[in-house]
């Protein structure tokens, strides 16, 4: 039975490096520089390039070398979840090939990393492509979500950011339940200078996006979004943040329609900020 595989805490990230506490780290404190391949994700690439740029800026500031394998496109999650696994196969094949040379992959997305770790190999196996399944499994074991890279591998919680604003954090479903990122994003936010973190009510309830769900079931999706928005507005926060642009796109779409003035920002954008303004 591979029953529990879906929510396994499968990945053991590379061993935590022993670095003494205190202050933002840089390459100077590390014996070897870490090199990561950025999995930008198709949404960040085409619609939210600022999040990709912020991720690069943040990682380079922390002394990480960043590559962008240009063959990458999409992880295939949308097609699998929409019921088109056979169409997703080519997407997965491309993804695995694009990152075949990467030692460590990082993505500013809990959902896409969730697909890489818990979906790609399964889809390949079910399609009978065992070689692809094996390669996908190997890639999954070296793919990390951004906060996992920061907290587990770089062992950094204070990234040297300054963001003097009232912020609330929405734990996105796949980061929360597929990856179990836990309080890593909160720990990172709590060390940002000037940032006031306010707790979101019913934080762990889905925002109603669900990929194609929001198109196939627009009314239920809107009802869920409505509840999420009232919770966000009740915090009095200026900014709502999360580790997934997909959910943020949904929340931002509602905030903008209601002309609330509340901004949705990816966590990487906050962590990359060292000046005074969002």
């Amino acid at each position: 039975m591979e029953a529990a595989a879906g929510h396994a805490r499968a990945i053991r990230p590379p061993a935590r490096r022993a670095i003494p506490d205190g202050g933002p780290r840089s390459a100077a404190t590390r014996v070897t520089r870490i090199r990561v391949a950025l999995l930008a994700t198709c949404l960040v690439d085409t619609l939210f390039p600022d999040v990709g740029r912020a991720t690069v800026r943040l990682l380079e500031r922390l002394g990480v070398d960043v590559d962008f394998p240009s063959g990458q496109a999409c992880c295939g999650q949308m097609h699998v979840n929409a019921g088109y696994p056979e169409q997703a196969l080519a997407i997965i094949r491309n993804h695995v090939a694009a990152f075949s040379g990467a030692e460590l992959v990082v993505a500013p997305s809990g959902s896409c990393v969730g697909a890489v770790r818990h979906q790609q190999a399964r889809v390949a196996r079910q399609a009978g492509d065992l070689a692809l399944a094996r390669d996908a499994e190997a890639l999954a074991a070296r793919t990390l979500e951004l906060t996992e890279l920061l907290v587990d591998v770089l062992a950094i919680e204070d990234v040297g950011a300054r963001f003097p604003h009232r912020v609330t954090y929405h734990p996105t479903c796949h980061a929360l339940r597929l990856l179990r990122v836990g309080d890593r994003p909160r720990r990172l936010l709590s060390r940002v200078r000037g940032l006031e973190l306010v707790e979101l009510g019913d934080a762990e309830v889905c925002c109603g996006f669900g990929g194609t769900f929001s198109v196939a079931n627009p009314d239920v999706s809107a009802a869920m979004l409505g509840d999420k928005l009232s919770r966000v507005l009740a915090t009095g926060a200026e900014v709502v943040t999360a580790v997934d642009v997909s959910c943020l796109m949904h929340i931002a779409g509602g905030l903008s329609r209601l002309r609330t003035g509340v901004r949705a920002m990816h966590l990487a954008e906050i962590l990359a900020t060292t000046g005074d303004g969002p």
């Binding site: 929510h7 240009s70 997407i91 889905c206 079931n217 903008s256």
Partner: protein
Amino acid sequence: MSAGGPAGRSGAHGPLRGREPFPDAARRALADTQLRQNLARATRTIRARRAEVVGEVPDWEALREAGRAIRAEATQRLPELLETLEAQVVARGGTVHWARDAAEATRVVVNCVQATGAREVLKVKSMTTQEIGLNTALERAGIRPVETDLAELIVQLAGDTPSHIVVPAIHRNREEIRQLFRQHLPEAPAALGDDPQELAAVARRHLRQKFLRAPVAISGVNFAVAETGTLVVVESEGNGRMCLTLPSTLVTVMGIEKVIPRWRDLDVLLQLLPRSATGERMNPYTSMWTGVTPGDGPQTFHLVLVDGGRSRALADPIGREALRCIRCSACLNVCPVFERVGGHAYGSVYPGPIGAILTPQLTGRPGDRVTGSLPFASTLCGACLDACPVLIDIPQLLVHLRGVARAGARQGRRPPSPSTLAMGAAAWVMADGSRLGWAGRAARLGRRLPAAGLPPLARWLRTRDLPTPPPETFRAWWARTRRGRS
């Protein structure tokens, strides 16, 4: 379901299939603000209670894993366990009937009741009898079924259908129940209030007379222990205990997947079920019986084993995991979709996340536009998997059954549907970095296109704005600024 079958409703509708696809039924349900308030209050209460009693069990995760293993073993050894169960029940004085589908099952039950000459039967709350449309079949044969579970009684008096597996009247509030009782129960005083205890007292007076008179009861089971032939019903109100002990004839209907191998498996399952279902450490009444005991309890006992699509589900190596379900409803109570639309929107007696994976498999028509829409009624947020006491990977099964539904809808269809073509085109773009880069640039050129003109997006845009494509994709920025650097 055969024509003139037990469903008793027009055409293809029945206990497992609604009248319209989920998105349409859900839209209607969302408009009912009273329903949404009732559901939000009720599910919030059950969620809090469950969280509390689950949190106090130090080895909850180990218990879940043990529960998963027991239920997985039961589905793997199903034929053998059912034969053992049958042999044990027969050896202890019971009669066992095998029913392929709802029509066969209801025929067997009606025959058993008719053999006694009874015109009225008591019923213990049972999902399987709801699934096979038993009440309608009994009424058609001139036999009056009396639901004795308080919530099932409310549903029956209202001419309604259950909207939740454990809490069938979760969509009703106490004022609505007060009015129903005033209207239908002669025992209800004119000044009946809406205090839950007062309401329960009226139902109790009404049912007590029935318990003392009725010669036949019909029940389901929560578990059937193969090695001993023991059947188990857990309940909260004591109505089950009355029905299982007072009448002279007992007919028990069970889905074949309810069997478990050993007596000691109850140790695990009876810890998991009440905490997951009602947020209780232990349910108030647990009744167990084995065949017939001379001079004590029902002296005639029939056990009806219903397949109803379960063998077919068992043949699907991924889908079969749904048969592990112990009907606790924890997944319904934590589901944000269920909380907003309620059970009726699913059109099946099995609503919510588990219903969305059970219903299409039990009905066995993957391309059906109504039952085939159910696996899509989820954001895949994963709350259901976290709550499931037997670790059914509901999100993974939903995704699997989406693929089955698409394949079913494609069968014999030529040319492919617009959505298949669109997803095919998207897959072509998304399987290649340079194609995606090209699409990103094209999106920028088309940023002034009226997206509202595209039908699937029109409803999205009613409540949400779409992002504006940026002036430069990330890929283009990288190529412009990093060329030659990395």
